[in-house]
Symmetry: C2
Subunit: 320 residues, 2 copies
Amino acid sequence: MAVYTDITEGDLGAFLRNYSIGELLSYKGIAEGTENSNFLLHTSTGPFILTLYEKRVEEADLPFFLGLMDHLAARGISCPLPVHRHDGGTIGTLAGRPAAIITFLEGMWPRRPTVVHCREVGKVLAAMHLAGADFAMTRKNALAVEGWQELWAASRERADEVAAGLTQEVDADFALLEKEWPDHLPKGIIHADLFPDNVFFLGSELSGLIDFYFACNDLLAYDLATCLNAWCFEKDMSFNITKGAALLSGYQSVRVLSDAEKAALPVLARGSALRFMLTRLYDWLHGPDGDLVVKRDPAEYIRKLRFHRSISSVQEYGLS
Amino acid sequence: MAVYTDITEGDLGAFLRNYSIGELLSYKGIAEGTENSNFLLHTSTGPFILTLYEKRVEEADLPFFLGLMDHLAARGISCPLPVHRHDGGTIGTLAGRPAAIITFLEGMWPRRPTVVHCREVGKVLAAMHLAGADFAMTRKNALAVEGWQELWAASRERADEVAAGLTQEVDADFALLEKEWPDHLPKGIIHADLFPDNVFFLGSELSGLIDFYFACNDLLAYDLATCLNAWCFEKDMSFNITKGAALLSGYQSVRVLSDAEKAALPVLARGSALRFMLTRLYDWLHGPDGDLVVKRDPAEYIRKLRFHRSISSVQEYGLS
């Protein structure tokens, strides 16, 4: 939830002269996205989203992210389309920051995901994995195991302040993940952040995916494990196996998991939970007080990590 | 800038069944308004603003605020219109808070007001004063002199921490204002918070006024003095007499000020600057750290107060 940068109507007007999207009628900073400043624009041709990329997004990665949206949309995945400028590009500069305009996607993200939502997310995730197969660009996952180690190095000393015993638990996770990480599994384009606030629905119909700013090349099944974490736990942190089953069967109705992928789900889910626990822990310990970024408590992912450590078979995720 | 309360699509859907505004397509928390939670809704019939009233707004005052918008709009003042529910009312409950839907006003507030903007604001302020004359409801100004005294009592002890000598300066202001406050001047409905972020323009045309949640019955010329403070100072806190002249002549092109109102402008401007200095000082000293409300530095209004104390004639405001 953030608008970091405000913009003047004069600067925005000048920026918009690079596009053919009509007359500007209004713009409002919106409380979505924790990494960038987002504005909802109304122009005489309709609504658009203007994004100003703040420091956490590397400018050099923008062609990958925006190109991916173009690529996926052309293959039938509903997602925002970057609006092209008169010069053909999709990235400009506004208020000293890289900035892009994308089409506005109607729909609402589910604050309380249901089994139906989970099935639909599984299906679209698999469809996205297939659609990404012939995308020409690549991007390394900045938050893969080595990235986690850096975050951990910066937080380890104070981890027990946040949860007693956490240092020891996470050291053991790293020891296991370094040994067992299933690097041989199928790779491709992953969304890497497909949380409920990045998936829009109109009623029970999925209307689109947003926020591709963590997308990268990595294990496809890792993306699915992230969704298990993000969609299938209840508010009390209990795992809802019915939702897990819906997510996994939705996924497999479009792309069948190999036996090796299935067998790796516990270690992938553990790795994914560790990744989100570590970014939250880092922000919790290092984020400035009073920042507009709402700090998310790492406790949620500490509990999810503990669940995955306890798994004795993949059937516990609802895999049939 | 704030969204205090998030809402689920289920709760919002149920709330919207009280209205005939079509199918909900999306809603986004917007970074406008410091007192309430505001959402921009898209429905199949167009855009709307949904406001959840947070603790600073008294529920008992809502019929006045919403009734005033209806009244002013019917008299040609462009402002949002409260959308009426099937039961005829304009106020419901959502997420445990009073909530209303108003029409969406296109336009942008000027981050850098020009002389043209100042003239237009003067005109619309006077037109609003005339249009409010036959509004049947009344509301006392909660932030009139007695309200200021309460704020000061709660901040006085620590005022010198914020600016050396402030305690003595403000005590002297109160002594003067209690003696010279021109309570006999014409009264009526005032906006009481007509800052640039509450006035929308499309190019140089004023497209409407928003945020009537400080509106009340008080001295009309006090409202004008608030605009002098809000619109006619430069970023370096110098008073721009050309902007002052434009605001005042714009106002007088619609409603002529009496000689007594003109003569009272310095004391009214001093009182208004004191009012905004005091609310900012109070929030500065008492607001919780890390609150989503962005604290505004009282220093801006301390400097404006000093300017008004130095005024030797109303010509210094640009009054011709």
